[in-house]
């Protein structure tokens, strides 16, 4: 069931109404049933995988409970690791590693045909396995008491607002909220609904409007020149941001209606002034997960500098691989690791002394250059994220600067707008949508406490109506999945 579907428009109010109508002690049952129904709307049989992951991690944590030392708890941690990573490997990475081995052996002169798995990738598997893994690791480390209530734990794994595309929640934050009783709160519910509305605008008005042009150009990059390739890449940068942050906003807003606060997953990422800053703003739940469970486990930055760089590289490469079983994602992750390392090397080598009393104008210019530079690096790396293969990504990169002089002619400019899937109207809506998004982000960046709730009611209602009617007038509908459902 997609958030941007009529089924969800009916499902969510029904669940919300029942939630506040039934006695509080039964609400976890309702949410759990609703979560399973939500998940089974895709592939009913795959609920068994979710149940398997739930039972294994519930049992592993309960078994760890009686063990005093980490050494005694370790076998059960390995049980959880094997089960969750085994699931991921079987459904997501088997064909990737299999074909890589085949290519390697064939390149070395050995005849080998690797077996193929035809298993469909279960929606959300990368998210819920990481969520349950995090729980098991926290129990192992003694930071989390095992949840004794199987039903509440099952709800922690399957909670439908964040089940299929995050945020990846920590047990210490989510479990207590799922156990608690949440009465109807006007401010909380209206805030949640505002987030849902904004998320829907980002998804159906902006992201899905940009998608056809991106798909047309990335589907056949050899047919396009530099301006079109650049346009598609910039469009994709905003498509993936709008798409993913929209899902998160709807997830957070939906959960908030039920009284559950999920963690923030995006913080105006295209206002980042460095790659490190970008990763403190983009997919925050994943980056903090990798920081806490992989990077710190490897030693983090409390090691020698060369080892630290290796740790960074490993974390980013694995993070890239998490996104998809393709070398393009590995390169994308690796590029970000490289950028992180390079920025540190440059920072250590060339530490510019900023003059004291530097005027505001120069500070703004310097900050703008850093933000723009970071945006350019991030956008260039998105080429690898979006391209179907490394060859295609390299082709796009190599031809990004071809044919720009054609833009000086009217015919050249018209040719850019004659891309299949991009009308002048689409271009205008997409451009205005990106503009609105950046203005909203700029407002929140400047004042994180900015809240529409404090505005006069007439202005608020006008804004809600404009958002609603922009969805009706400008929304693109029709089974448009969220990008991160593929991970």
């Amino acid at each position: 069931m997609l958030f941007n579907s009529l089924e969800f428009v009916v499902f969510f109010p029904c669940v919300a109404f029942l939630y506040f109508a039934i006695p509080p002690r039964f609400r976890w049952v309702l949410l759990l049933a609703a979560s399973y129904i939500f998940y089974m709307a895709w592939q009913p049989a795959y609920i068994l995988l979710l149940l398997a992951s739930t039972i294994v991690d519930y049992a592993a944590a309960r078994l760890m409970e009686s063990k005093a030392t980490q050494a005694e708890r370790r076998p059960f941690l390995y049980l959880s690791l094997c089960a969750n990573l085994g699931l991921l490997f079987s459904f997501k990475y088997f064909n990737f590693f299999s074909s890589t081995i085949e290519d390697l052996l064939n390149a070395l002169g050995f005849e080998y045909a690797a077996p193929d798995s035809h298993l469909l990738l279960p929606v959300g598997i990368s998210f819920y396995t990481f969520q349950t893994l995090g729980y098991a690791i926290d129990v192992y480390r003694g930071r989390q008491k095992p949840e004794r209530h199987l039903g509440v734990f099952a709800l922690y794994v399957a909670f439908f607002p964040q089940l299929v595309a995050g945020p990846i929640e920590r047990a210490g934050s989510l479990l207590p909220q799922l156990r608690a009783c949440h009465d109807f709160d006007y401010d909380r519910v209206t805030h949640g609904l505002r987030l849902i509305l904004w998320g829907m605008v980002k998804k159906v008005v902006i992201a899905d409007r940009l998608a056809p042009a991106v798909n047309a150009i990335y589907g056949a990059p050899e047919n396009f020149d530099g301006p079109a390739l650049a346009l598609a890449t910039v469009f994709f940068a905003f498509q993936i941001y709008c798409d993913f942050s929209a899902y998160t906003d709807i997830a957070i807003g939906t959960a908030e209606v039920f009284g559950v606060r999920l963690m923030r997953n995006f913080r105006q990422p295209y206002f980042a002034a460095s790659i490190a800053d970008f990763w403190r703003r983009w997919h925050i739940s994943l980056s903090t997960w990798f920081r806490d469970y992989v990077y710190i486990s490897l030693g983090g930055n409390r090691v020698s500098v060369p080892r630290w760089y290796i740790n960074l590289a490993v974390v980013f490469v694995v993070s890239g691989l998490w996104h998809g079983a393709n070398w393009t994602f590995v390169v994308w992750g690796g590029l970000h690791g490289l950028f992180m390392i390079a920025s540190h090397v440059i920072g250590r080598t060339f530490s510019p002394q900023r003059p004291s009393g530097e005027n505001r104008g120069r500070r703004v210019v310097r900050q703008s250059v850093r933000v723009l530079g970071t945006f350019v690096l991030v956008t260039l790396s998105w080429i690898f994220f979006r391209a179907a293969s490394l060859n295609e990504a390299l082709y796009i990169l190599a031809h990004l600067f071809d044919g720009w002089s054609d833009l000086l002619t009217h015919e050249g400019r018209a040719a850019v707008l004659q891309i299949r899937g991009l009308t002048q109207f689409d271009f205008a809506v997409g451009a205005v949508g990106i503009g609105v998004l950046l203005v909203v982000d700029a407002i929140v960046e400047r004042d994180p406490g900015a809240d529409v709730a404090r505005w006069p009611v007439a202005i608020r209602w006008l804004l809600y109506s404009v958002a609603l009617w922009s969805i009706v007038f400008l929304g693109i509908f029709g089974e448009k999945e969220f990008i991160y459902f593929a991970f």
């Binding site: 579907s5 009529l6 006007y186 109506s465 009617w469 929304g475």
Partner: protein
């Protein structure tokens, strides 16, 4: 919660009022006829008398594709005719449009249904192909579509398209499509056309039965409004198509409950010069069909016949 529900209700009412005002403002353009719009609902007047309502798929729709061919149909049937057959129209959209026709207080002497077996053979022809984006929004029609199994997404499209530039800018369009050449090797072309009509699969019994029931609803609706029913198998170069015998058996079953005339004219023309492709008549073919065959309906008073 009461405060929330009150405010939500007021917000919903205000926006619903805006929606109604917008829909009304851009709704009822003038000057549309069968030959300059693909929309069928735009043709339905209020409290009017007709000699005949035409139902069917594009094969029936194109009978009125030009002003002169529509005039030929009216001349053959002896009075004013409204053509509610739509492109991609299986039985279900025809039922919905006919119900709306009667709901607007209109009356017709007869229903002439140009029926083919493929119209009962798939969900695709009954829910997937009919162009709702070109139809004015009617709440009763939207609800009827949902009742008749249309996916909610398609009904949402029906609503949403009324707020888009393509609807707001609409004007009369010529609907007669460019002719397609009939290849010399007709057998391969016939098979390709049948693959399209029948979704490259044998007819599913349950699906045929499901839409057979919809056909029964059409017959019941016509009978309820005292309209005579004439079912016609229109001319085609496809030969004996899959489902023909099945359709004949279905119609035999309905003879007990409803009176209707049935004419199988599917094989009356074999001259390619009368067709613009394998199963659509061209203007010459329509003219000949009207004068030689369709006129018999009015002349014979639609008595049950073969």
């Amino acid at each position: 919660m009461r405060r929330f529900l009150t405010k939500l209700s007021v917000f919903a009412v205000l926006n619903a009022a805006f929606a109604c005002a917008f829909l009304a403002a851009f709704d009822r353009p003038e000057g549309f006829h069968e030959w300059n719009t693909h929309s069928r609902l735009l043709l339905i007047e209020h409290d009017k008398d007709y000699e005949a309502v035409i139902l069917g798929s594009s094969r029936a729709n194109l009978m009125s594709g030009l002003e002169e061919t529509h005039a030929a149909v009216e001349a053959a049937l002896g009075g004013p005719v409204v053509n509610l057959a739509s492109f991609g129209g299986g039985v279900t959209p025809n039922l919905v449009f006919l119900r709306h026709f009667y709901a607007r207080g209109n009356r017709t002497e007869r229903i002439v249904y140009l029926l083919d077996p493929f119209a009962l053979s798939s969900h695709h022809w009954n829910h997937g192909r009919v162009r709702l984006g070109i139809e004015p929004f009617r709440l009763s029609v939207a609800l009827d579509l949902l009742r008749n199994g249309f996916p909610p997404g398609r009904v949402w499209d029906y609503f949403q398209t009324k707020f888009q530039l393509s609807w707001l800018r609409k004007g009369p369009v010529a609907i007669w499509p460019p002719p397609r050449a009939i290849p010399e090797d007709r057998s391969q072309a016939v098979q390709e056309r049948l693959d399209v009509l029948y979704d490259r699969a044998p007819i599913d019994d349950a699906t045929f039965e499901q839409y057979g029931e919809k056909l029964g609803e059409v017959l019941a609706l016509a009978a309820q409004h005292n309209s005579k029913i004439v079912i016609v198998r229109p001319p085609t170069l496809l030969g004996k198509v899959p489902g023909s015998a099945r359709l004949d058996r279905l119609l035999e079953r309905y003879r007990d409950a409803y009176e209707f005339a049935y004419y199988d004219w599917s094989a009356v023309f074999d001259d390619e010069d009368l067709f613009f492709d394998l199963d659509h008549l061209n203007p010459s073919g329509i003219e000949r069909f009207c004068t030689k065959y369709l006129s018999r309906i009015a002349a014979e008073g639609a008595e049950p016949s073969d």
